[in-house]
Structure formats: structure tokens, C-alpha cells
Symmetry: C2
DNA sequence: TTGAAAGCGCTAACAC
DNA sequence: GTGTTAGCGCTTTCAA
């Protein structure tokens, strides 16, 4: 084992004061003689005293620690959403002197359930951040029921009232569809995230609503589901290509699938941006560097992470924020993958 | 606040036994009457008892927690290396019932120093994982000196003896250079990671050594440094383009810079894979989806993360591994960005 | 201004 | 088998 730590007791004995006094001296209590404080300080420095965090936590009954249980079937979470989001909460947490405990579990798995149980009882962490809310979300239900501090990124479909930050995916998708319609597209396919994810639902809604608004019929064969990975996008898109007449545009429910889609189309000799328009959703860093660069909807994930974290810390400390339902409006980013106006030699 | 927890004391009182007995019953000690055990178990279930982790940790003087302090100037760590690596350690840690505490700090910043001090004293975590080792690495020095359990991904240039996992970057780079030489390239430029990072040093070595081996002179204008991001790669590569005669190939010290490089070249109307060869290093998931797909060196980051973590846990538990210096040999992945044989109409 | 003492919730050596 | 007791290292009343 490594070097045994110097405790407050050692320090106190060394200086010749009581443990109490030593503790107060270091904690800057104003009822300690200046000279005593000095002596304690110096001795602490000299002995290399460092408070035992666990003991302090037990005594204070708080951990100053936040938990982030990443819901991903793929343990490697290649999805940059997670790392960007985590960076946001991590940095905000650090700024406010909180630690961040991270783990990954498959959505709705027993392991995930256990992780949440452990978190809500046992004082493992002081609060949790929940992402990728789901229909009938058991995590949120558990958290609400046990009255445990948490903030979600995303809403749910039940009538639970809980603090969240969310982006208005429906509005975002509307921007995207309008953009394509504005370019003359009428036959627009949609590659959706899997059912059960709330943000997928909102995005799908946005697609259907906007198409309807512009009196554009949608055949059900135009809408399929993918698993949100590049490969998933590549594999799924095949089903959208055998339509007659063909689609002129494909919107993907996230950028990763859009990238897979473009890749597959290009392998088939189809020119993205000229023969067909492709758009994604998220604006991951990668999106600006695809060939052609990807038209997409930008969500400021890092900032959302910060904001979610900040709200959680407020809640933990009992400073209830005035607004616990924050809704952000995403922004359309037009790049080359959606091409230029239809017609004029194209089609 | 949330519901107050049921403690062992509550439980014991409820059942009518001592705290000790309750504790032992739950811990499956064999000196507890079967009937008592049952009663305690049931009561625990019924009252929703959950042990307080902090108290247990204080008593056991271990946290069953690993720390990972991510060294990145960009707090958003867009570099997929970090998330992939973290996934590896996180999952391995979880498998062995360890928690993972994560934070980010700029390399060599005061914040980083403080984080390491805090970690090595104060019982914050039981062990640390260090990545992106540096020349004269203060983190490693501190850790060695305080005799704190850790494992590094990467070696250092001092003569400290510490446990590490590393990939043989020099050998990897050799493969890459040989590949290009095999295609007929002689004027091969190198876009290096910034000085000070050990893996950059090894990669650079591999480049110089292999060029020398094949009697290919390297002009110093062929080697420049970038900051390991796409943008950095794009910005830096300009300096490699005004050479006369021009380079026929550019190796980048990591994939992100290679992607930026390809992007910039293409914007200048240069056809990557035909007019010039480009190669990267890392094989991030993205590398297979660039256009053209990127020739690179694969390191199994996820697995390296697992292995590093596993070694650390062994060390923490005093099961010194037989081999604490693990060296992995990376693999060449040939894709289209390096093109085909030079000559024959090309050049 | 300081110290004694209690206690955070748990484990474990040692009686009984 | 079970309970008593003594901590783990710290903070915080409460008296002195």
C-alpha cells in the first residue's frame, strides 16, 4: 500500500492542540487565535496533512458528487453526444467543486436499474443526471417516487413533474423539413431513431407535422428506423432506395446515421447533394468535415450539459431554480449535403 | 431533501437484535443463526434498508473508486481517444465493482496538479489511470514519489519504474512509412503531434528511423507540428504544400489531423489518394467513413483501457501482476487515402 | 479561545 | 450465536 496519511489527530498532537482546534483553525473559524491558526497551518503544510474526504463526507452526509449513468447499448459509446454532454456536466461540476461519477449501462437493463437503486439509496451520489429520456421511463419514475435530486435532458410522456432541460426537437425538425421543401423537395424520406426514445418521437412528429402543413403526403414506406450508428444508417437506408418514383431527399434522425447514409449512397455511385439531398440532426463536430459537409440541426450539447448540471446543483442545495423546465430552440445549419434547388438539370 | 435513509441501527432495533448481528446477517457471516439471518433479511427488504456506502468506505479505508483525470486543453475533449479509452476503463471497473471518477484538466495546469494532489492524499480514490504521458511528466513523478497506485497508458523519458501499458508507436509508424515507400513515395511529409507528448516522440522517431533505413533524406521543412485537432491539421498542412518539388505523401500523427488535412487539400482541389497520399494514426471510428477512407494505424483503445484498468485493480489489491510493462503492436489499416502505386500517369 | 464529547453509519476484534 | 466496545477521520455542539 501507499503511504499512510496524516490525520487531523496526528496534526493536533504535533501542534499540541485539540483535534477540534486544529479542525477549526484549518476551516477558518474566527474563534481561533491567530497565532494558533498559524501554527496549525504551518504544521499542516509541513506534515503534508490532507483532510480525509470520506470522513468528511460521512460527517456532512453529502458526497459533493454527481452521478451520470450513460444509457448505451454499445459500451463504447462512440456517439459523440455522450462525450460532449459529459464534458459539459463534468466541467460545470468541477467549477462548483463537485465530483462526477460515471458509468454505462444498457437502456432498461437490470444493471441500469441496479445502478439507479444504488444511487438513490446509500448516499452514493447527491444527485443524478438523466439523458435520452424514454417513453414510460422507469428511471424518471423511480427518481420521482424516491424524491431523489435529479435533472433530465429531455421530457417524458407521462405526467410526472420533474426538472429538465430539453431542446425543441420538433421545431428543429420543422426547420430541416422546411429547408428541403424550400429547395423544391416533395418526396422526403425519414430515417428515424428507434422507437421509445422521446427525442426520436419529437423529431418524427416534427417531420410528419411539417410535411402535413405543406400538404405533402407521406407514404409509410418513406419512414424507417435505424439504430443511431453509422453502420445502422448505412444498413437501413437501402430500404429507402427502391421506391418508385425515388425519394429526392432523406432526413436522418441523427448525424451518425446521416454519415452512414451518405457513405452507403456514395458507394452506390449516388452523388449526395446532387442526386439526392441528405440531412442529419445534432451537428456533431464531425458533421462539418464530411464530404460533402452535412446539413443538420445544431444543438449546443456542451452548453446543455453545463446547464443541466448547474440546475442539478441548485436543486441539491435547495436553491430551487425559478424555472425548472428549460426549452432550447435548435438552429439550422445548411451545408452542401442538402444540395441546391431541385430542377434545373438535377433530379 | 429526499427521503431519509434507513440505517443499520434502525434495522437492528426493528428486528430486535444488535447492530453487529444485523451487520453480520447481511454480510453472510456464518456465525449467525439461520433464523436471525432470515428475520434481518426480511426486515431489510421491508424497510428498504440500503447500506451507507460512505460509512462503509470510511471504515474499510478504501473507496473502491478509480480516478481518471483527462488531460485536455479543450474541455470538450472532442478527441474520440478519450471517450473510447474511458469506456474501456469504465466497463472494466464496473465489472469488478469499482466506480469511476472523471474530471478534465489542461495538461500541466495548476488545476491538474491540484487534482493529482487531492487524489493521492485524502483517500479520494484508490488508484489513478494516467494517459498521454509527457516528457518529464510531473504526474508520474508525483505518483511514483508518493507511492500511490496507478497505471499509465504510455511510457516516459525518465528512468522511473512504473506500471504501464503502451503501444509501440515507433513500430506502428514504421509500418505506415514502409507502406508508403512501398507505393513508390520518397518525399513524405510528417505532421507531428505537439512536442512534449511521449507518443508523439515515438511516432516521430518511427518516421525518421524508417526514412533513414530506406536511405530517404528528410528535409526539415517536411516536418511540422499540429495541435491534434481537425482544424489544427487543416491549418498546419498549408506549410507542407509550397515545397518544390512537392511532397507526394503526408503522414499525420493522428487521425483527427489527417481528416483536417484531407479536408483542406480537397478544398484546394487536390485529389487525396490520387494527387497525394494521406495517412493518419489511431483508426478512430470516423476514419473508415471519411472520403476517401483513411489509411491509418489501428490501436485497440477500448481494449487498452480495459487492460490498463485491470492492471490497476490488481495493483490496488496487492496482486502484483507478473508483467507490469505491457507493449502492444499496432496494426496497419490500408484504405484509399494512401492511393495506389505512384507513377503510371500519377504523380 | 479552547477542549471534551458526541456522533455520522458502518465493521470487526473480542468477550459472553 | 450474539452483544459490547472500539474505532475509521472528521465536524460540531456545548462547557469550560
Amino acid at each position: 500500500m501507499w503511504d499512510v496519511a496524516v490525520t487531523l489527530k496526528d496534526l493536533a498532537r504535533h501542534v499540541g492542540v485539540s483535534i477540534t482546534t486544529a479542525s477549526r483553525a484549518l476551516a477558518d473559524y474566527d474563534d481561533v487565535a491567530e497565532e494558533t491558526r498559524q501554527r496549525v497551518r504551518e504544521a499542516a503544510e509541513q506534515l503534508g496533512y490532507y483532510p480525509n474526504i470520506t470522513a468528511r463526507r460521512l460527517q456532512k452526509r453529502r458526497n459533493d458528487t454527481l452521478g451520470f449513468i450513460i444509457p448505451t447499448a454499445d459500451p463504447r459509446f462512440a456517439d459523440p453526444f455522450f462525450s460532449e454532454f459529459m464534458a459539459g456536466i463534468g466541467n460545470e461540476a468541477a467549477r462548483k467543486d463537485y465530483d462526477l461519477l460515471v458509468s454505462t449501462h444498457s437502456p432498461d437493463s437490470p444493471g441500469e436499474k441496479a445502478a439507479y437503486e444504488r444511487a438513490t439509496r446509500g448516499g452514493w451520489v447527491d444527485g443524478l443526471i438523466v439523458v435520452r429520456t424514454r417513453e414510460n421511463d422507469g428511471r424518471i419514475q423511480l427518481l420521482c417516487q424516491s424524491n431523489f435530486p435529479f435533472v433530465a435532458f429531455g421530457r417524458t410522456d407521462d405526467d410526472l413533474n420533474f426538472p429538465y432541460v430539453d431542446e425543441d426537437s420538433t421545431a428543429g425538425m420543422r426547420l430541416l423539413v422546411q429547408h428541403l421543401i424550400g429547395l423544391g423537395h416533395k418526396r422526403i424520406g425519414y430515417l428515424s431513431p428507434p422507437a421509445g426514445l422521446m427525442f426520436g418521437t419529437y423529431r418524427r412528429c416534427g417531420y410528419y407535422e411539417t410535411m402535413a402543413e405543406y400538404d405533402l403526403p407521406v407514404d409509410e414506406s418513406w419512414v424507417i428506423e435505424g439504430d443511431m450508428t453509422q453502420r445502422g444508417g448505412a444498413d437501413a437506408v437501402g430500404k429507402l432506395l427502391n421506391l418508385d418514383p425515388p425519394l429526392t431527399a432523406i432526413i436522418c434522425g441523427n448525424d451518425l446515421m446521416a454519415i452512414g447514409t451518405m457513405n452507403r449512397l456514395q458507394n452506390l455511385g449516388i452523388n449526395v447533394g446532387r442526386d439526392i439531398a441528405v440531412a442529419g440532426f445534432d451537428d456533431i463536430p464531425w458533421a462539418a468535415y464530411t464530404a460533402p459537409p452535412l446539413t443538420t440541426i445544431r444543438q449546443p450539447i456542451y452548453k446543455i450539459g453545463q446547464q443541466t448540471c448547474s440546475m442539478l446543483i441548485n436543486i441539491i442545495n435547495g436553491w430551487e431554480p425559478e424555472n425548472t423546465h428549460i426549452m432550447l430552440t435548435p438552429e439550422l445549419i445548411v451545408r452542401e449535403s442538402s444540395g441546391t434547388r431541385l430542377g434545373n438539370g438535377r433530379r
